[in-house]
Subunit: 456 residues, 2 copies
């Protein structure tokens, strides 16, 4: 595609990460000439003089005032844990946690997971400032609107280039939300956006490592700090987003500027947010959905002679693993996914545990699943035929998988998902209180009820 022509993609690059890491870790101390050794001291001396010389400058005063907002250290809750940390660190860690199982929300137009950067920053900040629940919800809507609009403006080119768009737009969305929560005026809000624009986070190469969930966490921290710095008078370019050497034109080859402003304040991107019902790749969701519906119709594993699926081509390309060895591999197996859908009626993180993957009943059922590609099947569709041992056949066609924009999860399903995730950590009764605190946030005096129920 033409939009890809500017993307270099050299798969044969030498392994410089490993080479440089070996060098840094193993090169002998003082393994260089006296001239290099002297230059190192000159470099250090010159750097130190510059730093001392600027100690009373406005840029130092403003940034120091911002980081002093992080004191005292134990000011914010780590969700699901007893530890308390400074608010920037809480934004970081909670952002990491929320994306760790890749089970969070998705703005499908841009594949942005919008809550991670914005909500993680807002909750930590609100806990410190005592902002009202109303203000938090307002800031959440507006912060997500900014990051998703930037995504609309640059997607798909920006994502195709290799940016993990959740983190690369998220620092700016988090800055917008935090600026709103702090009540900054338009001029200082523009500075907050500008400071954050210099800190995009995230490479797609990191998928499959802990650095993937780091992206929303680091974006949350960067956005929060950007707003605090702007509050204390730190400055940035007032054209940081749109200038020729500004954010959009540096990180994207596509820049559809209308997306930033079209129906601004009328259409809200959070309306298009969706929630994953199942803790695995979205292409197998229609199959799980179908099998869970069979279960609701009374079909049991022991009834099954075989399950015949027609699926979109991507399903077998991405998730064709027939005999997954462990939980991580099972996330890429349509066979396992269908088996747990029928046996458990759900596919949360627990259904991708090693124990469930090796459960004989699950193993037996997944071997009865036959999946064939059908190009007439759309990505959020599945066609499932259950042939039962008694000779009966049941047919199900999933037009839109549960969790899509066209068939959103119900509030009750969201609550069930929440219990499935949080009960093992906090216990069901505290989780019930936490769910109520979330639903009531817009009318609450602050985030106190949320963080009290959510800290272990």
């Amino acid at each position: 595609m033409a939009r890809n022509t500017t993307i270099s993609a050299d798969p044969n690059a030498p392994p410089i990460t490993r080479i440089l890491a070996d060098f840094v870790a193993t090169h002998p101390s003082r393994g260089w000439s006296d001239a290099v050794e002297h230059e190192a001291h000159r470099t250090f001396l010159n750097w130190l003089g510059c730093a001392v010389g600027a100690a009373r400058h406005e840029s130092v005063r403003a940034s120091l005032a911002a980081v002093q907002m992080l004191q005292p250290a134990a000011q914010a809750t780590v969700l699901g844990r007893a530890e308390r940390v400074d608010m920037a660190s809480a934004a970081l860690v909670n952002g990491i946690a929320s994306h760790t199982f890749d089970f969070d929300d998705t703005h499908l137009k841009t594949v942005i997971h919008p809550a991670g950067p914005v909500a993680s920053a807002l909750l930590a900040l609100a806990e410190v400032t005592g902002a009202s629940g109303r203000a938090v919800i307002d800031a959440l809507v507006l912060g997500i609107d900014v990051s998703c609009r930037l995504g609309n403006l640059m997607y798909p080119d920006h994502y195709d280039r290799g940016w993990h768009i959740t983190g690369s737009t998220g620092s700016i969305g988090a800055a917008a939300g935090c600026a709103r929560l702090l009540g900054l005026d338009p001029a200082r809000t523009a500075m907050a956006l500008g400071i954050a624009a210099s800190q995009p986070v995230g490479l797609r190469e990191q998928f499959g490592t802990m650095t993937k969930p780091l992206h929303p966490g680091a974006a949350a921290r960067a956005g929060l700090m950007s707003a605090l710095m702007a509050q204390h008078g730190f400055t940035a370019s007032a054209r940081a987003l749109e200038a020729p050497r500004g954010y959009v034109q540096v990180v994207s080859t596509k820049a559809d500027w209308r997306e930033a402003t079209e129906a601004l304040g009328e259409r809200f991107e959070i309306s298009l947010n969706t929630y994953k019902p199942f803790a695995c790749g979205i292409v197998v969701h229609p199959g799980i959905d179908a099998c869970a519906q069979l279960r609701e119709q009374g079909v049991r594993a022991e009834d099954i002679e075989r399950l015949e699926l027609k699926v979109h081509p991507l399903v077998l390309e991405l998730c064709g693993k027939a005999e997954p060895a462990d939980g991580l591999a099972a996330k890429f197996s349509i066979y396992h996914a269908c088996a747990v859908g029928l046996i458990h009626g759900r596919a949360g993180e627990g259904e991708f545990s090693d124990a469930v993957v090796n459960d004989p009943q699950v193993v037996a059922l997944r071997r009865k699943v036959r999946a064939t590609v059908d190009t007439a099947i759309a990505e959020d569709q599945a066609d499932v035929r259950a042939v039962l041992r008694d000779g009966r056949e049941l047919h199900l066609f999933i037009e839109h998988a549960i969790g899509s924009v066209d068939r959103p999860m119900s509030d009750a399903a969201l609550e069930a998902k929440f219990h499935g995730q949080a009960d093992p950590v906090l216990g069901a009764s505290r989780v019930q209180a936490l769910i109520q605190a979330c639903w009531g946030l817009g009318g609450a005096s602050g985030v106190g009820a949320v963080v009290q129920a959510a800290g272990a």
Copy 2:
């Protein structure tokens, strides 16, 4: 040039920074439908459940262990000030300070200012861990080697695209230095580089604002935190730098991989570091140098009938301001620069103060400067003819300006520069002790002597 063809540069983009900032700051609370309001609560609920559900995951344990290294809060020195902050904040603020006057060091091949990200992270970390001075110098050389080699690999395309290369390579250099200082093994060092690779910092659009010096500061903080996270078991792609969707190929269209590894451990990029003798744009340095030499020859302002300069074309293009109104404008005036060179024999931050700019003697002398472009003059050259009131003429040709690779500043000149910057903040006698502590760092038991002398 061909290498610029992929760079979009739309100077007519709408002012979306301002528009979005106005929207975020002024849109009424709950200024949307009930459906949007409800979706906001669903988004918040779903995010919170995901975060609580992952609370015991290894990614949360590792990142939390890293941020807990920031406690207690008052663990590191802010240079030239009495405040103490956590080490990540110290790395941030000291990195900002060191680049605030744009008077620090330059790796001329890449225009990277290498010390800011690396030294700022190392000093803060060493203060907490008690690392030896030897280890700090080792880590400084190796960290700078990594960031400058990445610069060589991508320059100039990466810089032309709009990245402020100091911050965009600096987070990785700082991570490398901190990994070395922490004694991480090669595998964890690779993780540190990988974590940092997802956090490039800096847009050239920010030049002229406080966010320019933020870049080395934010890079220092990101690199330090990346190393701490790697130390505690946080993971990243082991091919984060070179993969098709890794750092280099995402942020640059040029990737000359040999630059990463050629003569690794034999040629050290810190050898090519230079130090600015004058607190202004590098193109006027040859002119200042010449005028300071005239002063050394005994010429005084009152002797001058006129000063005739032949200069490189960029001098008048960038620094042709004849009557600067204040200190900031004077940094773009070859006329002012020559006047202070002859009157004061130097051009530090003090010679660009408003008071000096409006000093009648300086004003009178700058009006006697005539500068004409000569295409035979190189960027680090100047040709100066002083016509004196007694009819004599003196001629000086600067072959290489002081501070260039070919004519480096002497240690004595570096010390004089240091005094000029730091004496107003700390007083001359403490500064003398600080200078001695810097020269002796490689043999010192730790950074104690440095930080004791440098904290106000």
